[in-house]
Amino acid sequence: MPINRILIKAQVATYANVLLEAARNKGNIFEVNSQLEQALHTIRGNMNLRDALADTTTPAEVRANIVKEIFKDFDPALIKALALMAEREFIDHLSRVCEAYTLAAEEATDSIVIDVTTAVELNDELRTKLKDRLSAQYDGKDIVLQEHVDKSILGGIIMSAHGKLIDASVISQLENARLVLSTVPAGGEA
């Protein structure tokens, strides 16, 4: 493995472990995990923000201030970590930090973090049912749901964990139906 990649891996682990340690002390491990995911989605989903944070001609202090301003409602330790990553031009590796943090958090709490996306907010009853079902799939481990509401999926649910994904959304089923309707040979020809 090239030295640069080893260094990056070590840096990713450092960020993840520092964040986890701070969150453990405050008792908000999975809240920080959720905020970390939100930060990643925010940066990925905004091209101007992504370009501004990746632009090396922008002073490091300015980049750090941008992050602090945008994510001011997040956990203070996470804000500091994100600002540091922006200053040191490490924000491109935020997704790896996020993954490493999730894995470390799961290991520390002996639980599994599942990303759940629905068109409406889950109620407690459904949340419990979902956790029970997922817990049975992961040998009785605790399940932590990171919930996201996205009306564009029209209905149903999308679940993902450890790079695996179950897409039971209405939008994807409609897309499958559209593909089938478009590709099935026309019948009834004499």
């Binding site: 889950l122 149903g156 409609l174």
Partner: protein, 203 residues
């Protein structure tokens, strides 16, 4: 030998003619003198002997000089005629041979001409059949290509229509679901999907 005998016959004929003339001369003399009776038929010796001598001299001269000349000329003439006849015969034979050869050549040419005509006819028929077959094949190919093109166009049009119908159907369905489902119905749908979904931990 034959020429020689002919020459002898000519010499005898000339001598008889000469003697006849010499014998007739005393008779004519007697007749001119006007004597009568049998005596007229008997030549007078005084005239007969000189006449005979003259006859012999003439005969000898003719035999020595005239006859050979005459017979030579005749022989030469005969030879010339004979050669001419032989040449004519040769020419006739040659002309007959040439005629036969020409006839044979003509027959051969006729046979060759007939063969050439037959070959040309056969080649023409073959060419005609070939051109006809090619034209039929090209026509069949063009028809097949046209059928394929029509079929492809038809399929493309059907696919386009199918795709448009699918897009429209899905769009309408999505809009209906998004607008008409209540939160409870959404939650029931999620519960049903979760029950039907596979395991995240499955390999």
């Amino acid at each position: 030998m034959k020429a020689k005998s002919a020459t002898g016959r000519n010499a005898l004929l000339v001598s008889l003619l000469a003697s006849g003339l010499s014998l007739a001369m005393p008779v004519l003399a007697l007749a001119e003198e006007g004597g009568g009776g049998f005596s007229l038929l008997i030549p007078k010796m005084g005239e007969f002997i000189p006449t005979l001598i003259a006859f012999i001299i003439i005969w000898i001269i003719l035999a020595k000089v005239g006859w050979p000349m005459i017979t030579g000329m005749l022989d030469e003439r005969e030879k010339t005629i004979k050669d001419s006849l032989e040449q004519a015969e040769q020419a006739k034979i040659q002309s007959e041979q040439l005629l036969a050869e020409h006839k044979a050549q003509l027959d051969e040419a006729r046979v060759e001409a007939a063969q050439i005509i037959a070959n040309a006819k056969e080649a023409g028929e073959a060419l005609k059949a070939d051109i006809t077959a090619k034209a039929q094949q090209e026509s069949a190919d063009m028809i097949a290509k046209a059928h394929l093109a029509i079929e492809a166009e038809k399929k493309a049009a059907i696919a386009d229509l199918q795709s448009s119908v699918a897009d429209l159907s899905v769009s309408v369905a999505g809009r209906l679901i998004g607008e008409n489902l209540s939160d409870d119905e959404h939650l029931k749908l999620i519960e049903r999907y979760v029950a039907e979904a596979g395991s995240l931990d499955a390999n």
